[in-house]
Symmetry: C2
Subunit: 216 residues, 2 copies
Amino acid sequence: MATPSADIAPPPTTRASSQSTGELDHVVAERHQRADARRNREKILAAAEIAFRELGTAVQMEDIARRAEVGVGTLYRHFPTKEHLVAELATHRFSGCISEAEMALATVDVWAAIECFVYRNAEQMATDAGLRDTFMAACQSGGIWVGERDRLNQRLAVLLERAQTDGSVRQDVTLGDVQALMCGLSAAIAGGGDWRRLASVMLAGLHAPPPTPAAP
Amino acid sequence: MATPSADIAPPPTTRASSQSTGELDHVVAERHQRADARRNREKILAAAEIAFRELGTAVQMEDIARRAEVGVGTLYRHFPTKEHLVAELATHRFSGCISEAEMALATVDVWAAIECFVYRNAEQMATDAGLRDTFMAACQSGGIWVGERDRLNQRLAVLLERAQTDGSVRQDVTLGDVQALMCGLSAAIAGGGDWRRLASVMLAGLHAPPPTPAAP
DNA sequence: ACGGAATTGGAACTCCGGTTCCGGTTACGT
DNA sequence: ACGTAACCGGAACCGGAGTTCCAATTCCGT
C-alpha cells in the first residue's frame, strides 16, 4: 500500500529542491508534511475508496473532491493525476487479491483453495465496481499497475500448476485463460447475474474433465 | 435490418412537411432519395461496419467519415446521432445472433445446438469488438436496442428451458445468468484468452451436474 | 505574536469527441 | 441547357471531464 507507484511518470512539477530525500518527491515532498495536509489526504483516500467502489473507473475527480469536502486543487496536490489516484485504489485491491491467493497457496486441498479464492473474489466484485474495472483493465494490457497484476499472476500460476498436477483442473487451460476468466467473471457479475451461480459455473467449467469434443 | 429503429428519439429536425408518408421521415424523407445519397449511405454503412468491428463502440464519427471518404456532415445527414448509427450496427449483430439461435431451436439435439451456438458466437467475438461491446451493453440495461436484445433472449429462454428439461444444462441457471455469461464471455475473449477454450469452459460449466456444495 | 512556507479552493483553461451550420456543388425533372 | 431542391464537406461550435493556477488562508517554528 505504501509507495504504490515507484515512478508512474515524473509529474511535470518543477521540483528544483531536495535531491537528498531520494524518494517520494512526487505526491508532496514528504519531509514534514503539515498536519492538515495529511488529514486531507486521508479524507480523500477514504472518499475515493467509497466512490470507486460505487462508480468504478468512471468516478469523476470533482465527485471525489466533493465527497472528501475538499477542492479539486487539493486533490491534485496529493495525486498528480487521476490515473495515479486510480492506480492507488486499484493497487489496494490487487493487494487484497494477492493475500487471498497466498492464503490459498498455504492450503493443502488445492481445489478447495481455488474454489474459495474464486468465491471470495466474486462476492467482492458483486459490490465493488472498482474491483471489477480493475480486473477488466488488468487484462487489456497497458495499465499502470502491470507490476501488481503480474505479482498476482505469479501466485495464480503456482496455484494452477498444482491444481493441474493433482488433476483437479482441466489440463488445457492456461494462466492467460484464468486471467481472462476472472475478467469475464467481472463482466458477468456486472451484467447482473448472481455472483454465486456465476462463480460456480466458472469453477465447474474449470474442474470438469478434459475439453468437450464438440464442434460446429 | 430495414427500418431498424422505429423511433429512437424524434430527431430535432423541424419536419413541417409531409405527414402522408407516415414513416421514415427521419434519416431523410424517403421519397425519391437522390442516387448519390443512397450510394453514400452504402459507403458509410460499409465503412462503419468495418470500423465498428475493429474498434467497437469507441469508434469516432470522424474516423468513420474518413474511411467512407465522406464529410462528417454527410454522416449526420444519414444518421442523426452516433447512437443511431451504433444502434444500426448493433442491431445487425443481434439479427445474426437471433438467426443462429433460431437455427439452434430447429435442431433436435438441444445440447449440441447450444454448443454450436456458443462456439459460433465466441468465434465471432474474437474478431469483432463491436459484437463484444454490443453484448456488454445489452447486459447493462438501458441501451437503445432493448427490443432486439429481448427478441434474442426470448429464443434463448426456449433453448434453456428445453435443455434443462432434458437435463443437459444445470437446473439452477437462469436466463439472466446465461445473458451475463455471454457478456462475461465477451469480456474474457476481449481479455485475450483463446475463444475456443473459454467457450468450452463456459459450456462445461453449464453442462456439469448440479452446483458444487463448496463454500468458503 | 509574527513571518513565511505549505496548503487550500475553485474559477479558468485545455483537450477531445459529438454535433451543427451553411456556402458551394450536384443530380435530375422539364 | 436550365433551375432548383437535395446533397456535400468540413470549419466552427459546444459541453464535459481532467488539469492548472494563484490569491487567500492556515499551520508551525522562532
